[in-house]
């Protein structure tokens, strides 16, 4: 399939592919087993300038956008869906700085992220606030020249390893959804500590931790945007970051599909390779079609965002995340099926992909929430047309 990539985009794919094949593939089982944080991979990504692939040149990046990020994430996830989060989850946190940060904040934080010197994390979710984001209870109280943060965030990707955290807090409960604010909090700030590292089903090459704020004093310069913009920042961020999650799911699915095709050609049963059985062929055909469809939707959405950053893409972003993650779950399950008994064994690479795929249906907005958003957007559009 021709994707009409530019020369530079092709280079990004090639570099990400080489890192994935040469640096990640030999160690992916190790990180899945030990759940260690893959700092060596961060270094490799930094060396080839991929950490800044979505960051403007003036801040040390290579000047690409969401599309370039998606291309890199997709290639990396074809080999491992968890290790690539060092890039994808950092981007999730860098986007709000790029979209809402002032010059000082951009100059202070983006160059280190682009150079791979620092990782970032986005902290919204709390034990009692998942899909119901407005139920967050972490507070930030203004006191003189700082804000005092109190509360707990949970399930934060890159938590504990990242240096830079975007934390969504309630600054004015009375104002409801207009009462939240976003802060940039640096690791090692007094009052900011981490809880346990979670033991996960999949994406075990990434770190997921609790963040604990106890009278954590943050300078007022670290307020992102204005007070009250917290949820708007979160939603706008998700609009541009969801294609990235979708790209992660796409990469996982794509890698599983390739493995399944190759395996089906090698595996011989009843005197022939199983790829000659219609049952397998139909599975593969469906898998491949779904993967291409997901890819087309992601690429189209990413291109839309990059062409005009002002356009609202809530519906499209939700669609590509929804589709790609559901496709990933189905394709990886089918891939395990094609591998048969071997697919269930940890020695073979497919069961890991299935474990990795599941989270894409849950985080950055569950697929149920995605459906809500899409429906609401459709109805709004229709209502507007009626007028």
């Amino acid at each position: 399939m021709e994707y009409f990539l530019s020369e530079e985009q092709k280079m990004i794919c090639e570099l990400a592919r080489r890192i994935a094949e040469e640096k990640i593939k030999p160690v992916r089982e190790h990180y899945d087993e030990t759940e260690e944080f893959p700092w060596p991979i961060v270094e490799e990504l930094a060396k080839v300038d991929l950490c800044g692939v979505y960051i403007p040149e003036e801040y040390g990046g290579t000047g690409g956008g969401v599309f370039e990020l998606c291309l890199a994430v997709e290639e990396l996830c074809k080999i491992d869906g968890g290790i690539a989060l060092v890039l994808a989850a950092t981007a999730l946190s860098a986007f709000p700085i790029m979209l809402f940060g002032n010059d000082e904040q951009k100059k202070k934080y983006l160059p280190d992220i682009a150079a791979g010197k620092k990782l970032a994390a986005f902290a919204l979710t709390e034990p009692s606030a998942g899909s119901d984001a407005s139920a967050i209870q972490t507070t930030a109280k203004k006191e003189g020249d700082s804000y005092i943060l109190n509360g707990t965030k949970c399930f934060i990707t890159n938590g504990g390893e990242a240096q830079i955290y975007i934390v969504i807090t309630m600054t004015d409960k009375a104002k409801g959804s207009r009462g939240a604010s976003a802060f940039i909090v640096e690791k090692d700030t007094r009052g900011f500590s981490f809880g346990k590292k979670e033991k996960k089903m999949g994406i075990r090459g990434s770190a997921t931790r609790e963040l604990i704020f106890n009278e954590c004093k943050v300078p007022k310069e670290n307020l992102l945007g204005r007070e009250g913009q917290g949820f708007i920042i979160a939603l706008r961020t998700f609009d541009v970051s969801r294609p990235g999650v979708a790209a992660q799911a796409l990469g996982i699915a794509s890698g599983a599909l390739d493995d399944a095709i190759n395996y089906s050609r090698e595996r011989v049963q009843f005197g022939q390779s199983i790829s000659s059985f219609q049952a397998i062929q139909h599975l593969l055909a469906d898998m491949a079609t779904e993967v291409e469809a997901a890819r087309a939707l992601i690429y189209a959405t990413a291109r839309m965002i990059d062409k005009d950053p002002k356009v609202r893409v809530t519906k499209e972003a939700a669609m590509c995340k929804l589709l790609a993650s559901d496709v990933a779950m189905k394709v990886t399950t089918d891939a395990v099926q094609i591998y048969g008994g071997y697919g269930y064994m940890r020695e073979y690479p497919v069961e890991k992909r299935m474990r990795d795929a599941k989270i894409t249906q849950i985080y950055e907005g569950t697929n149920q929430i995605m459906r809500n958003e899409i429906a609401l957007a459709l109805i709004k559009e229709a209502a507007r047309k009626k007028k």
Binding site: E7, M11, L15, R18, I19, K47, D49, T62
Partner: protein
Amino acid sequence: MNFIVCIKQVPGTTEIKIDPKTNTLIREGVESIVNPFDTYAIEESLRLKERIGGKVTVISMGPPQAESVLREALSMGCDEAILLTDRAFAGSDTLATSYTLACGIRKIGEFGLVICGKQAIDGDTAQVGPGIAEKLGIPAITYVKKIEEINETRIRVERMMEEGYEVIETGLPALITVVKEINEPRLPSLKGMVRAKKAEIHMWNASDIACEKSKIGQAGSPTIVNKIFTPLPRKGGEIILGDPEEQAQKLVEKLRQAKVV
């Protein structure tokens, strides 16, 4: 310091097979690549530049399509690239190649160190490195596996031998050929690739490099290829069957019969 790296474009012969019917070489979808040993040379030059500062110029002798390997070198971080290309260079053996590259290097100007890969995987001669050094009148140290010290005037290296290594020191300018043990070549960076794509590769032909016509190409090649043939393939022998103990027993019997054990 000015570093000069000599590289070569070679066929990626990882999948070369012999066609049993015609008994000739089958080249299945083979692309051209940078000679693997040369990537170690490029990497070492970049490390030296990072260590003591300077500039890395990469040079190659080949047909116009060889510019792709020069661009790869640029994307890894080399500063300038030169391609010596001319129909008159075709048919060069190692002597003519050494001479031509030496003329090209002289034209580049002053340099401290020339770095080459141990050998090219198509010719496998390992002759061009020392040949260039001889033509330039500089010392050569081959099979370098580590550069211990380097400054403006001297270099000290570890040279791999069959049963260990030697420590050799020499004055600069000099030439070294490097082996795989010396480093781990870096991947090109995105910024490097973009820069390399736009970069200008200097193309020099025979008249650009002040060389004597009688010393280049076929005329300058004392060796000529008389004949090319495919060797008779070695045939397989017998398969020993049985369970492991039986197989071991039968094999030992055969080895004793052959009087090798």
